[in-house]
């Protein structure tokens, strides 16, 4: 079993998925167009990184749903319009304020909602705080891990919509880490990716 990452091929995907820092976090990379030939059931996790063009994933909706139905785990990060190709996601976009931190004493409002969750042994609140692209209205019963300033979910684990597990976030760490821009996104991946391995595919 292994961790499979979808590789859409933009420079930020190449840097994040192939670069030395995180290459070891993924056992196999697959192009969206090659997903049909991939035996998803052989993978513990399928990761879909930020800014994966949704129209390159639409053809695989049923395949991803089957994988989840068989107990698989999908991780999907922000700005990919995941609601178009994954089940049970209701997303509301919001304008992005890149400059909030310029105001002295400003607080973006992101909060860890489940401090006892194992992920937060590796991540602090500052590691999930850079900017916001939107929030979710997930179904009852999901585990919300982080919320925005209005208390709306921006990172959650859904084990109720399917027999599998979806870890969904509107945060976009792969894009910014891969752009060498925003150190918090690198800190996020420094914690999130080892947690993902430890939790779902321990060696």
């Amino acid at each position: 079993m292994s961790i499979l990452a979808v590789h859409p091929g933009a420079y930020y995907h190449i840097e994040s998925l192939e670069g030395a820092r995180y290459a070891g976090c993924f056992d196999r990379l697959v192009r969206p167009e090659d997903l049909a030939a991939e035996r998803l059931e052989e993978h513990k996790v399928v990761l879909i990184p930020c800014r994966t063009p949704a129209d390159r994933m639409l053809a695989h909706r049923a395949r991803l749903a089957d994988y989840l139905g068989n107990g698989g785990t999908i991780v999907a990060t922000g700005e990919s319009e995941s609601q178009l190709f994954l089940p049970g996601i209701t997303f509301t976009p919001q304008p992005t304020n890149f400059w909030w931190w310029l105001t002295p004493g400003a607080d973006l409002g992101v909060r860890i909602a489940a401090p006892g969750h194992a992920l937060f042994r590796r991540l602090a609140q500052r590691d999930v705080t850079w900017h916001l692209h939107g929030w979710f209205d997930p179904p009852p019963g999901v585990e919300v891990l982080a919320v925005n300033g209005e208390g709306r979910p921006i990172l959650y684990v859904d084990e109720v919509t399917t027999r599998g597990r979806m870890i969904i976030t509107s945060l976009d760490p792969f894009y910014h880490h891969g752009s060498h821009f925003m150190p918090a996104t690198t800190r996020f991946l420094d914690g999130f990716l080892p947690w993902m391995r430890e939790e779902f595919d321990p060696r």
């Binding site: 091929g9 420079y11 063009p53 129209d55 752009s179 060498h180 821009f181």
Partner: protein, 201 residues
């Protein structure tokens, strides 16, 4: 004469290029639908930071033919695959501080004519949006703008010995620079004009 705008992201074309598309000067093509026929009918192309560089490798022969017959390619972003002999892999500035983002005009260029380069350095007081590194300057290339105290060539034009020209901007898409009301629209218009060969002779 067709200039291709290779549309790699999901969603509408970037607003600064809409007018050129409406005028028929620019043809937006989803990258996943690109064929060699698109290249054969084109005299220039624009690619964005979202270019699927892994997939674009398959376009190398068509791209080379376009350049060989004198075509022009405006590239935005970090080069992490080699599409044309003579190009090199992007080099980020490691551990950058504010002085590392100072921009300096090194040589005049029609795309930037009348635009003060330092005016592109910050967006609402924050530097780094323009770019944070450089794609290596090919031998014989013209460095247009430098970044940081070492004047690393963040923007350059290369007249390829075998034919054609490449302009590299190693940062966020040039047409989006300066925010609302900034010079992005003017820069986008000039990028199209440069690809058409109307400026930068």
């Amino acid at each position: 004469m067709t200039i291709l705008f290779i549309h790699s992201h999901y969603g509408p074309l970037p607003a600064p290029y809409e007018a050129a598309v409406a005028d028929g000067r620019l043809l937006g093509v989803r990258e996943v639908e690109l064929t060699s026929d698109h290249f054969e009918a084109a005299t220039g192309l624009i690619t964005t930071t979202h270019l699927d560089q892994v997939g674009f490798l398959a376009c190398r022969p068509a791209l080379t033919r376009l350049l060989d017959r004198g075509g022009r390619w405006f590239f935005n972003g970090h080069l992490l695959r080699i599409f044309v002999e003579g190009l090199g892999i992007y080099e980020p500035i490691r551990g950058a501080r504010r002085p590392d983002y100072v921009l300096t005009r090194l040589n005049p260029h029609a795309i930037f004519d009348g635009i003060e380069q330092r005016s592109l350095e910050e967006n609402r007081g924050v530097a780094g949006f323009y770019g944070r590194g450089h794609n290596p300057l090919p031998g014989g290339g013209l460095a247009v703008n430098g970044i940081g105290p070492d004047l690393l060539p963040i923007d350059w034009e290369w007249r390829r010995p075998a034919g054609g020209r490449i302009f590299s901007h190693a940062g966020n898409d040039l047409g989006g620079m300066g925010g609302e009301g900034g010079p992005g629209a003017l820069l986008a218009e000039r990028v199209v004009s440069w690809c058409e060969g109307r400026i930068g002779s």
